[in-house]
Amino acid sequence: MTANDILALLQQHFPHTPFELQQGQAGDPWILVPADQILPTLDHLKSQHGFVFLSCLGGIDYTTGLGVVYIIRSLEKKCEVTLKVLLPYDQPEVASAHALYGNANFFEREAWDLLGIRFSGHPDLVRIMLPDDWEGHPLRKDYVEAPDYHGIPTTRPDSHALLTPLYPAKPAAEPGATPEGA
């Protein structure tokens, strides 16, 4: 089953939801789902069409907003589909999928820790990778390092001066946009 087939199935079951099939210049297509409809969509795909395996749940910082991507797989049909949700910076909140997929619990904690995306209904949304008293969400594009942590300095040796700043000042290009000169 391709992404087009799954889009047709979803549009048949949820006729009022504006799903959108998008693709970059190269690579695989994904289905863009409105943020409040992601949980019914996942539930429908899992219970009716056998997409029982959550392969990946990740957060992304597009400099225009945040995104969450879900990659789910059906073991009998041997196919996967990528669903994406876009969230604004001032209210990055989406429903939690921990009741449908067990490993979504840890993936969502990681997205909260590193990107600041809130998952409503999550039983235990605390930091997982970083210490509990860390400040900031490091995977965001505008993150700035603190000068020290609990007295341990964060300076780098001169030989490790960053050739490219790790935290660039200018935002990166739009997702899926044609690069200049390509």
Binding site: P153, R156, P157
Partner: protein
Amino acid sequence: MEPLIWDAGFAIPTKIDDLINLPRKNSLWYLLFATACCGIELMQTGGPRTDLDRFGMVFRATPRQVDLLLIAGSITYKMAEEVRRLYDQMPEPKYVLAMGSCANCGGLFSRGYSVVKGIDKVIPVDVYLPGCPPRPEALNHAMMTIQKRIQKDHWAQRMFNEAEAITK
């Protein structure tokens, strides 16, 4: 009479030191503490081809019974306090070997936000061993360097000097 005894007797504490340090350096117990990739090379060095047991080195799981803390692998800020606690729990005299680039200076992860840029920001280090990961032969050489460091410890000489200062 007294000055002659002190001058001639100076040779004895150095010989006693050599005698004390010989068994100390040949039964160096290290803590089983392996964080990342260097830990696998440490396990391989304890394996059949390059054998650490022939140096008298065995691994112990508790810091109370070891002389040597081998930092093998990257240390993150979350782990740094635990490393400090392990170091404080070791009894004196203790030695630290920073194994691999990540323990020396943060290695290739020093560009990130979460790795301590060198374990010497947290605990004092005796020997630095570069490599990513260092070969078992390199780890052998580092262990022998620590042994040379131990051979130079002054126990009897210090007691001799203190006794000399008191009586003079």
